[in-house]
Amino acid sequence: MAHIHIEDLSFSYPGANKRCLDSVSVTIEKGEYVLLCGQSGSGKTTLLRHLKSCLAPHGEKQGAILLDGAPLEQLSLREQAAKIGFVMQNPDDQIVTDKVWHELSFGLESLGCDQKTMRLRVAEMASYFGIQDWFHREVSQLSGGQKQLLNLAAIMAMQPEILILDEPTSQLDPLAASDFLSTLRKINTELGTTIFITEHRLEDIYPAADKVLVMDSGRIIAQGEPGEVSQVLWKENHPMFAALPTPVRAFYASGAEGKCPLTVREGRSWLSRAFQNHPPHTLSPAGEETVSEASPALTLRECWYRYEKDSPDILKGVSLSVPQGSLFAVVGANGAGKSTMLKAICQICKPYRGKVELFGVPAHKQKRLFSGCVAMLPQDPKSLFVKATAQEELAEMNTDTVQQERVAALCEISHLLHRHPWDLSGGEQQRLALAKVLLTNPRLLLLDEPTKGLDPFFKIQFAAILQKLKDSGVTILMVSHDVEFCAEYADLTGMFFDGQIITVNTPRAFFSQNSFYTTAANRMSRCVFQGAVTAEDVVSLYKQNQEG
C-alpha cells in the first residue's frame, strides 16, 4: 500500500479563476525520497501544504489525499502533528521558543508527552543531530544553518513517518545547505522516513532523489526517476530544464548518447569515456577574456576594520580595485567579512586604517555619497520595504515620475506597482528593491548576496537587468556564494579569505585554477578540458572536439 496517495487533487484559492492545483495525482511509497520541482508560483507550496490539514489553505478543493489508505482528514490534528513533519523556508520564523532545548521539546510538549519520554527523545535528537554542544544556548546565538537544523531536529523528535520540506535550504549558504541535505539523506536512509521536498538548487539533491515530480501551473508534467524526468524535460524543451544539475544540462545539450550523468562524478566518467580514444584537440573555450583597462570606480587600499575595540579584526588589509563599467564578484566563505567590506565602502563601518576611494575621491570626502555615487542592495530585499505599495516605495526615493517609470521598466516591475511589496514573490521583491536602490542613480552599485533564495529563472532575469545596467555605465560590485552565477556573469572575480582579497582574475582563469572552490562544470570537465567553467563551455568544447 502506498504511503501517501494523492488522487486527482484540484484546488483553487477563493476568488481566483485559475486552478492552483489541477488534477494532481501522486503516489509515494514508504521510505521514498521524493523531490518536487517547478518554477516559483507553480503550486509546489500549495501542494505540500495540502498534506497537512492544519496548514492547508482555504479554498475550493476536490479529490482525495490518502495516508496509508485512509483519508487524511480522518486523522486527528494530534496524530497528524506526530506523523507528518513540516519544515518551512525561513529558519528564523519557524522557531517558537528562546532556548535550543525548549525548541526541541516544543512538539513533544504539545503532544502531551510525559517527562520520561520527552527526556529520552530530546536527548536522542540532540545527539543524533550533533546539537549537544549548543543544547543550552539561546536560539538568537545560532547561525542560519544551525537554526534550520534545529527546526529539523525539533520535528524529528516527534518521530514523524513523513517529512515534508518546503525549500528548506533557500536561505542558507551553500555549505550549510549541503550539510542540511546530507542530514536529510541520513534520516531517509537510516530511519526510513519518507521525504517529500521542494528545492531550487537541484545540483546536490536531484541525483539523490528516488523520484522527481515536476510541476507547471498546478499540473504534474513529469514524474519518475531523475534520469527519466530529465529526458522528458529535454524532449519537451521545458524551461525547468535550465534548473537541472550541470552534468544533465551539458549531457543533453551536447547531444551525447547513452545514460545521462546526474552527478559530477558521473559527468566526469562520461567525458573521460567520450574522449578515451581521441583526446580533445581544442582544450579551452574560445574567446579570450579581457581585463578592463578603465580607471577604477572603487579602490580599497589596505583597509583594516574591527567592530569593537577588543574584538578581532574583520578586515585585515583589504586591497581591491574595481574598474569602471565592470561586474566584479567577490566570493568566499560565510562570515569571512565580505559584507563588512561592503559596509566599509558605504562608510557605515569606517576602516581605522587604509583608504577607500570612489571614482578617485576618498569616500569620506564624497559629500553626497548616496545620491549619484554609491548604493547597496542588502541581502534581504525586504529590508528596504517601508510602504504599502510598490509605487509608494519608489516615490519614497524619488518623486520624479519619469524616473520612477524608467527604473520600473528597467527592473521589469511596471505591472506590479499597485501591489503590496510583501505580497510579491522572492524574485519580484528583489527587483523592486533594486529599483529603489537605482533611484539614487548610483554609479557604483553594491550587491550583497543578490541571488540568495532566487529560483534559476529569476536569476537569469536578474542577470539581464545587471547587464543593462552595465551597458549604461554602472559599475557593479557583488558579494556572493553563488559560484555558478559569478562564473557565468562576472567580468572579474576575487576570492575573499581571512579579511583580505587573496586573488583577482577573470572568472574563467579564476575558477579553473581553483580545484574545490569552483563550478560543477569545471569540476566535471577538468579531466579533459581546461578552463571550462559553465555548462555552455563544456557543451561547445564537446561539440567542437566531436566534430573535428
Binding site: H58, A388, H420, D423
Partner: protein, 235 residues
C-alpha cells in the same frame, strides 16, 4: 464555575484582604512587601482569564509579536528619551481589546526586564503598562475600524488620552515603586516629592506616547487588517 473565575475570586476576596491585614500587622517597611503583593494579586485574575481562554497559535504568535515590538521598538529611535513602549502597548490594546491589551503591557514589561534587570520595579511596570493597554482598549477598541480612515478627531482624542493617561496614571504608578522602595515611612509629603521629581520625565514619556499613538496607530492597525485578509487570521 470556571477554574479561572474561581481563582480570580479567591485572589480578590481572600488573598487581597489577607495581604492587607498582614501588612498592617508587620512593622518596619512591610508596606513595601504588602504593596508589591497587592499589585501581583490584582494582576492574577487577568492571567487566569488568559490561561483559560486557550488562545490559538495565530493569536498567541501575534500577541507575542506585539509584546516584543513594544520592547524592541525602543532601539528604532535615535532619541534616547523617546519611549515608544507605552504607545505601542496602547495601540495593541486598541487593536485587541482591553484584556489582551493588559496582557501585552504586563508581559512586555516583564520580558524587557530579562534583558535589563529584574528589580523592585518589575511588578509596578507590569501593572502600569498593563493598565495602559487595558484603558486604551476599554475606550478605543470599539473605534478600531474607524481608525483606519485616519479621523483627526479620534487621533486627537487618543493623543490627549495617551498624554494625560501617562502623566496622571501610568507615570505615577511607575513612580510608586520608587516611593515604596526609598521612603523611610509612608507619608504624603514624600510621595508628592517623588512624583514632582518624576514629573518632567513623565511629561516627555507622555509626549512620546502621544506621538506614537498619532503616527503609528493607523499603520499598525492597517497592517493587522491586511494580514487578517491575506491569511484569514483570527477568524
Amino acid at each position: 464555575m470556571k477554574r479561572s473565575t474561581l481563582f480570580s475570586l479567591i485572589s480578590i476576596f481572600l488573598l487581597l484582604p489577607a495581604t492587607l491585614y498582614l501588612g498592617t500587622q508587620l512593622s518596619g517597611k512591610a508596606y513595601y512587601i504588602t504593596s508589591t503583593l497587592v499589585i501581583l494579586e490584582t494582576m492574577l485574575p487577568f492571567f487566569f482569564r488568559f490561561e483559560s481562554r486557550k488562545p490559538q497559535a495565530r493569536e498567541l504568535a501575534t500577541i507575542a509579536v506585539m509584546c516584543a515590538l513594544a520592547v524592541a521598538g525602543r532601539v528604532a529611535f535615535p532619541l534616547p528619551n523617546f519611549k515608544a513602549i507605552t504607545g505601542i502597548v496602547m495601540i495593541a490594546g486598541i487593536a485587541f481589546g482591553a484584556e489582551t491589551g493588559f496582557m501585552i503591557g504586563a508581559v512586555s514589561a516583564f520580558a524587557s526586564n530579562f534583558f535589563f534587570s529584574q528589580g523592585p520595579w518589575t511588578p509596578w511596570q507590569m501593572m502600569a503598562y498593563g493598565i495602559a493597554g487595558f484603558l486604551s482598549g476599554l475606550i478605543f477598541h470599539r473605534h478600531c475600524a474607524r481608525l483606519l480612515k485616519n479621523p483627526p478627531l479620534l487621533l486627537g482624542l487618543m493623543s490627549v488620552f495617551g498624554f494625560v493617561g501617562i502623566v496622571v496614571v501610568i507615570g505615577p504608578l511607575l513612580d510608586c515603586s520608587t516611593i515604596f522602595a526609598t521612603s523611610s515611612h509612608l507619608s504624603w509629603k514624600y510621595a508628592l516629592a517623588v512624583l514632582a521629581a518624576g514629573l518632567p520625565h513623565n511629561v516627555t514619556h507622555g509626549i512620546s506616547c502621544a506621538l506614537t499613538l498619532v503616527i503609528f496607530s493607523k499603520p499598525l492597525l492597517s497592517k493587522l487588517s491586511r494580514l487578517q485578509t491575506k491569511y484569514g487570521m483570527l477568524s
